[in-house]
């Protein structure tokens, strides 16, 4: 690669290798985006965590490139979104072409005044470097490079992990093991578990090229373009003047032939024109799959990210959903390790993230069915939609080049408290139980965005005053709830957009979980109701 040199973090001998078998509360396998995000989150919550990785560098070549608004908000909470947004290419507009005509244009975020853009494009290795830097800063996060997990023995009270190192093997015992070790998940294999689903019969060439261009920072997708007839092409801008070009090749393409530069260069020349100057950074031929494990929690072993579920890349739902797995799991695991919540809270990770995985798999399967029609009938409908879309607005909404990652609303979550007040909105971005909290511009001592004011634990977001005695009592609980008052207290709703986005009236309150998802809402403050909703969100009472 010409624009990037891999860092080498190097092997270091851990103290555990010399003494008796160490016991850790949490060990994570895999220092990719999901494992690192989880480790940082646990570290910030005061839980010591060991991350074991078989390599000593970041990911190589073309991997994830698109990080959605919600992922950036999670990374903000973890204290590392800023360098990622600065280095990356923010974008909000996607364009879809059929042959030589623009047929459909979409915006990821439909209104102004959000802190983070709809999407930031950045090579995965840059994202991982930022996460590694942050992980090294956070107390209690112990990232061990070249510590390769070769055996896992799960018991009722602990998990024994065999780790191979340049100095030989050692054993590490942990209370909880989280496998964030990717699509092929060795840990999954060691436990004899499977991830089931379907593979798509199509091949795609992904070429990352270095090129100076004034092309706009937008996602462009072509069906049947003149420069690549009969197939689709996707173009994304990344950092450092690197561009991602994704050519559909069809199932009959020979992957070994297609990855040769003498095959790739003419394709790029035809697309970019004879005068374009570029160099190939990385190229690879891929097939895509949609799979998931039957459960993500297996006793004391939990699975997250690609290890747990796999989607096709159209929609940017892989890395994004993986980071959201980590976001969902970290606070629950921290409370269980602390002894402030029972193990049952971890079952809600299973419930919530399996529903999210199913949503992502459904969206990505529908996109793949449109891009790669499986039968003559589906191809006929696909082509009919594209032709109609050139003239008729209704058909443009049927064009599916990937429905880009939006955070799952955890509607069916067992941790949600059912609405008691009848006049709240539902669906379409509503701040209903299960929805991730919307950001909005504000004024206050923590800066101009609302999410910055949410606490590491639970937050009661109150549009109106909460009696001081009640606020103090909530803050003193064994799992504290911090009251954040919008309007006349800690946060000034200068543009009125907090009230709009939360459909709030004076008195309206939201209970937000540590991962910033709404778990209950009321039209008036009621301390008993808040305490009951908190107990429910901790899976403390009988269901």
């Amino acid at each position: 690669m010409k624009t990037y040199t891999q860092p080498r973090y190097g092997y270091a001998r851990a103290a555990d290798q010399d003494g008796a078998a160490a016991r850790k509360p949490v060990a994570i396998v895999g220092a990719g985006p999901v494992g690192l995000a989880l480790a940082i989150d646990l570290g910030l919550r005061g839980i010591p965590v060991v991350v074991l990785d078989d390599d000593d560098t970041v990911s190589v070549g073309s991997r994830a490139i698109c990080y959605a608004k919600r992922t950036l908000e999670i990374l903000d909470r973890l204290g590392c979104a800023e360098p990622i947004c600065e280095r990356g290419v923010g974008w909000n507009v996607g364009k879809v072409f059929h042959r030589d005509a623009l047929v459909f244009q979409f915006e990821l975020v439909h209104e102004p005044r959000h802190h983070r853009p709809g999407m930031v494009n950045l090579q995965q290795y840059h994202l991982e470097e930022a996460l590694v830097r942050r992980a090294h800063e956070v107390r209690g996060v112990d990232v061990r490079w070249k510590h390769k997990v070769t055996g896992v023995a799960a018991h009722d009270d602990r998990v024994d992990v065999t780790v191979e190192t340049p100095d030989g093997p050692y054993t590490l015992a942990c209370d909880w093991l989280v496998a964030c070790d990717g699509a092929r998940s060795p840990v999954r294999g060691m436990l004899g578990l499977e991830s089931e689903g379907q593979a798509f019969r199509d091949r795609f060439l992904i070429a990352d090229i270095h090129m100076h261009s004034d092309f706009p920072p937008e996602r462009w997708f072509w069906f049947d373009p003149p420069f690549h007839p009969g197939q689709s092409v996707l173009l994304h801008r990344q950092a450092d003047d690197v561009w991602r070009v994704d050519f559909q090749l069809g199932w009959d393409a020979d992957p070994d032939e297609e990855r040769k530069p003498e095959r790739i260069l003419p394709r790029l020349r035809t697309m970019l024109g004879p005068e374009a100057r570029f160099e190939i950074e990385w190229a690879s031929v891929y097939t895509f799959q949609c799979r998931r494990m039957k459960r993500f929690r297996h006793g004391r072993v939990l699975f997250a990210g690609d290890a747990a579920h796999l989607v096709s890349p159209f929609g940017a739902r892989g890395a994004n959903s993986g980071v959201q797995d980590a976001d969902n799991l970290a606070w629950k695991l921290a409370l269980v390790v602390d002894g402030r919540a029972g193990e049952r809270l971890l079952d809600s990770y299973d419930d919530e993230r399996m529903a999210a995985a199913d949503e992502n798999i459904a969206a990505s399967t529908r996109s793949t069915d449109f891009i790669t029609p499986k039968s003559a009938a589906s191809r006929t409908f696909r082509d009919a939609v594209l032709e109609l879309a050139r003239r008729h607005p209704f058909a443009r909404r049927l064009v599916n080049s990937g429905r880009l990652s939006t955070p799952s609303v955890l509607q069916g979550s067992p941790l949600n408290t059912r609405d008691r007040d009848p006049d709240f909105p539902h669906g379409d971005g509503a701040m209903e139980p299960g929805a991730p909290a919307a950001d909005a511009p504000v004024r206050g001592d923590r800066g101009p965005w609302l999410l910055r004011y949410l606490e590491e634990g639970f937050t009661l977001l109150a549009f109106g005053t909460v009696p001081e005695a009640d606020a103090e009592a909530l803050a003193r609980g064994d799992v504290p709830v911090h009251v954040v008052t919008v309007g006349e207290g800690s946060v000034d709703d200068v543009e009125g957009l907090c009230a709009t986005r939360y459909a709030a009236r004076p008195g309206t309150c939201f209970l937000l979980r540590p991962d910033q998802h709404v778990c209950a809402r009321w039209r008036a403050f009621d301390r008993r109701a808040v305490e009951a909703a908190l107990a429910h969100a901790l899976a403390r009472e009988d269901r």
Partner: protein
């Protein structure tokens, strides 16, 4: 109650039938299939009611789909 009207609803049924056939005049099988697909999409959007469309899909598959392929 069913949402889909399957009672006679056309003033001149023979003329409609002739127009449907005429829409395929001079087309090969692939072109005909595409015209039919476009027609389905245009009419489905015009109807807009998911119940009507679902019942129409079920009625269209009836007798075409045998037990072995269902």
């Amino acid at each position: 109650m069913t949402a889909l009207n399957t009672q006679p609803n056309l003033d001149r049924p023979d003329e409609l039938y002739a127009r449907l056939l005429a829409a395929h005049h001079g087309l090969d099988d692939a072109q005909s299939a595409k015209v039919n697909a476009k027609l389905v999409l245009l009419l489905a959007n015009h109807i807009g009611d998911a119940r009507v469309i679902d019942e129409a899909i079920a009625a269209a598959r009836e007798d075409v789909v045998t037990e072995s392929t269902r």
